[in-house]
């Protein structure tokens, strides 16, 4: 690129039949421009390489820190439910389970609700309400997670304990699978409550990205659909969604990324118990919550190392989610091209 530009400028210089002094000063200006350009080029490249270096530094530090735990427990670390600081036997199964289940609950709720809100805002909402609702959704994204945590513990969890959970337990007491999912004493806090809080936190991501991509659907497509007699649902299902699926999935993944890594709010409401339970009302833990809770007071090298290993696993899970998302997008784009 750079050499190509230089050639052009040289041609330009040669072509100009200006006096020697003028061409010399012009050459100086061009040299200076070339210099600033190459400095700028170097800076941008340096910044990008710094990101790469940081990332690999983090990975190396995680692997180095996790090595004692991984060499002691081997692959069994991934499948062991016990987390016993007294006997120094650690396993990551309960935190992995908790992370995946809470994120799943969050996405199960946030995705449909977020899509509906986004569609309402772009298609059905009276102009007057559009901005207030849109701003409210964006404000949700701006609330620090500690606030969600405190609200979750002091307002939401007691409400769940007294009203929602007993209702679920009573209602589903005789339904085969649901009676196991919603069993046990209503603690108020637990996996289910954590999932709900996460859903609220993820909602603005799904909504605002979906709204932006829905806005980008050419009006002529929708109008044509309405013109041939489509219902609102059909326009949403067969015109808007297929047209925007790439962007919408991008929004999901951003939300899922946040749900997987969210720490503070989850720590407050999940119950922080290294147990795997069939009931969603039982307390559990997530990877990030375990690290946040235990790192400062982890006594002994193996304990600390096991927590770092948990961090490595979370890193890996997030990486996989991103990779799957990329793959899906690629597939969709190829299909769209056909």
């Amino acid at each position: 690129m750079a050499s190509g530009e230089r050639d052009v400028s040289e041609v330009a210089l040669k072509g100009a039949s200006a006096p020697a002094a003028v061409s010399a000063s012009r050459a100086a200006v061009l040299r200076r421009l070339r210099l600033t350009d190459s400095i700028f080029h170097g800076l941008t490249r340096g910044a990008s390489l710094a990101v790469l270096a940081l990332l690999s530094g983090v990975i190396i530090a995680l692997i180095y820190g996790a090595a004692p735990a991984l060499s002691t427990f081997g692959f069994g670390f991934l499948f062991d439910e016990s987390w016993n600081p007294v006997t120094e036997r650690f396993g990551a199964l309960a935190p992995i389970f908790g992370t995946l289940v809470t994120s799943f609950i969050a996405m199960l709720i946030a995705v449909p609700v977020g899509l509906m809100v986004a569609f309402f805002l772009t298609e059905l909402c009276p102009k007057m309400l559009r901005r207030p609702i849109g701003i409210a959704i964006e404000l949700l994204a701006g609330i620090p997670s500690i606030i969600y945590g405190i609200w979750g513990l002091f307002v939401f969890a007691p409400f769940m304990q007294e009203h929602v959970q007993p209702l679920f337990i009573d209602t589903f007491a005789n339904v085969p699978i649901l009676s196991t999912l919603f069993a046990g004493p209503p603690y108020g806090i637990g996996m289910f409550t954590a999932g709900l809080i996460l859903a609220i936190m993820v909602l603005p991501f799904v909504t605002s990205i979906s709204r932006d991509v829905f806005d980008a659907v050419p009006p002529v497509l929708k109008e044509a659909a309405y013109g041939v007699g489509c219902t609102t649902w059909e326009v949403f299902r067969y015109v808007v969604l297929p047209f925007t699926r790439v962007g919408v999935i991008g929004g999901f993944m951003l939300g899922l990324g946040r749900a997987l890594g969210e720490t503070m709010a989850v720590t407050f409401v999940i119950g922080n118990a290294h147990h795997i339970s069939a009931s969603l009302f039982a307390p559990g833990t997530t990877i990030s919550a375990s690290i946040a809770n235990e790192f400062t007071e982890a006594v002994g090298d193996l304990y600390t190392s096991s927590l770092v290993a948990l961090g490595l696993i979370l890193f890996f899970i997030t990486f996989c989610v991103l990779a799957i998302a990329r793959y899906l997008l690629m597939r969709l784009q190829q299909q769209g091209g056909r």
């Binding site: 016993n84 007294v86 969890a157 007691p158 637990g190 809770n293 007071e297 006594v299």
Partner: protein, 347 residues
Amino acid sequence: MNLTKIVLATAFAFSPAAAYAIDISGAGATFPYPIYAKWADAYKKETGNSLNYQSIGSGGGIKQIKAKTVTFGATDAPLTGKDLDDSGLVQFPMVMGSVTPIVNLEGIKPGEIVLDGPTLASIYLGQIKSWDDAAIAKLNPNLKLPKQAIVVVRRSDGSGTTYNFAFYLAEVSPDWKTKVGVSTALQWPVGIGAKGNEGVAGNVAQTKGSIGYVEYAYAKENKMTFTKMINKSGKAVAPGSDTVQAAAANADWMSKPGFGVILANQPGDQSWPMAAATWILMYKKPEKPAESAEALKFFAWAYAKGDAMADSLDYVPMPQNVVNDIKKMWQAEIKGADGKPLYSPTN
């Protein structure tokens, strides 16, 4: 190196004030932080010397003193004699408090409900699941206890409070000793975890039918419903400074290296069964003797003049005879590079 020394020497030579104001640094247990901060404040007003204490947790305190980044470490779980000898540390108790069970039961006021050690252990083992269990009812014949699930609340982080609590449960319940054990962090059979004393207090306050354990000061400040406990002598006692003092008076402090006696389940009619001390860790031959000498002066000052302040924050001062033993130990063990004791009772 030499250059720095010269620069430092000149700096000190020209600023005599700097030589007096020595900063004592310490790190460790969160439980005694309020009283250490209060003492440090009063001490600075009186002497001009300041104490910088970071409440990073007992585990962190032990790590920091072993890394020699601080003048003293502080821990709620005492080190063993072997550990102390291996690292060349001495250990002494600074102040006491107590671990107190708290409950959230409708219509039950502080001190109304009575528990004993084995029952408490069974609750935390998940064997007693409901408040109307026969074991609890037997201890509380006059209370009408609800048929409500017990929500067990415990610490999610490592903690000296947990250590003292687990130590007591292991003393009174063989089941606890074999199934769970004693440490600052445990594999809890049941319950929900909350971070810090304030987290446990908050969760118990929010959750109906819950039980938790906190430092007595948290129970008192937050007006929580504390329980009475049946002690080793079979008497029901309430938590407080008098019952902790009774437990401390009955303890044989010299029986463990570094005064490392856990005050759990002490004999005596008035003894609170979960009294707890908190310890200071220092080097026998510190690298910076001047700072250690200053720290010892501060501790001596706190033993002599800090009792009222401790009382106001619901801590319990050490008995005088124990303080005398501690000072003797300082003179015998903590020495400067010249082999002379860093502490002498006269200065």
